[in-house]
């Protein structure tokens, strides 16, 4: 289970390594998966989910890194759909009530 401290330690590790080597050494795909795991149980709004989705990087080339195909983006899409479906279900149930 990913918590904030673990995610933060991971970010610090990548950032420090990148600084030492002069080469961007982030495993952006793994990091994004970590973020998704950390937010699984949060009550996020549709707006928050959309904003987070827009930040997910599908190809590391956008960040001047080697090209990639980040699977975490697909993971996020699944997460987002489930969350939004639940939100909408809750809204319609509260209308019925």
């Amino acid at each position: 289970m990913m918590n904030f401290n673990k995610l933060n330690d991971e970010a610090n590790y990548y950032s420090e390594l990148s600084g030492k080597t002069g080469v961007n050494s982030w495993d952006q795909d793994k990091f994004q998966t970590g973020v998704i795991n950390m937010i699984q149980e949060l009550n996020l709004s549709k707006e928050q989910i959309e904003k987070l989705g827009n930040l997910m990087v599908s190809n590391n080339q956008e960040l001047d890194m080697e090209p990639s195909n980040n699977k975490s983006v697909v993971e996020f899409e699944v997460f987002a759909k489930n969350k939004v479906d639940t939100l909408e279900q809750n809204i319609s149930m509260s209308k019925v009530a």
């Binding site: 918590n3 401290n5 420090e16 600084g19 937010i39 949060l42 996020l44 928050q48």
Partner: protein
């Protein structure tokens, strides 16, 4: 794309410190600092005005204090490969000689370091005490620098860190990130994350 989301709330008033320092005082202090050449002084002051216009509620007291004795040095003895570094303990701003021919936007780099100086209470910059939030703090500084002056260079600086900070801002609240940063208090951010349901 990465830098837009965290900044929506900035136009609401938020007092993050009672400031005695004003731009006139800062101009005098900067002019009297013999460690910095006139061209750099002009560049710094221009950026300070930009910062103050956008964030008038942020105290400039730390900045005024640091500008009295701030030194700026170019060195090729960097501990890492970054283009610049603010040593808040000794109040020295370093530029990495070995990287200065690369295509950075130096206005952006100077603004990035100016924000570090503004947010420094001599023990830490922003909410980063003892390196615990190094990446997050760096990312948030980069978001602020990009908001204030953009980045017209070929080189991105700390894009991954900025994305990380943006994500945390969305989860915890952009206002909490801002307040935590300029009040040098990580607890504000951590409490906001807990309130959002994040397991620390």
């Amino acid at each position: 794309m990465f830098f837009l989301y965290t900044l929506n709330f900035f136009y609401d008033k938020m007092n993050v410190g009672d400031s005695m320092a004003n731009l006139d005082n800062i101009k005098v202090v900067l002019d009297n600092n013999r460690n910095i050449n006139n061209e750099v002084k002009d560049n710094l002051f221009e950026l300070i005005v930009i910062f103050n216009n956008k964030f008038p509620e942020v105290s400039l007291d730390n900045l005024e204090k640091h500008l009295r004795t701030l030194k700026i040095k170019k060195t090729n003895k960097f501990l890492n490969q970054d283009i610049s570094m603010y040593d808040h303990k000794n109040n020295i701003l370093y530029f990495n000689k070995d990287r200065m021919n690369e295509e950075y936007d130096y206005k952006h780099v100077l603004m990035f370091e100016l924000i570090n100086i503004i947010s420094s209470n001599s023990y830490q910059t922003g909410f980063n005490a003892d390196g615990k939030f190094e990446a997050l703090n760096t990312g948030y500084t980069e978001i602020l620098a990009n908001f204030l002056v953009g980045n017209n260079g070929e080189k991105l600086i700390y894009p991954n860190e900025a994305i990380y900070a943006n994500m945390i801002g969305i989860i915890a609240g952009e206002d909490k990130l801002f307040e935590s940063y300029f009040k040098n208090d990580a607890k504000i951010l951590l409490n906001a994350l807990v309130e959002a349901g994040v397991t620390l």
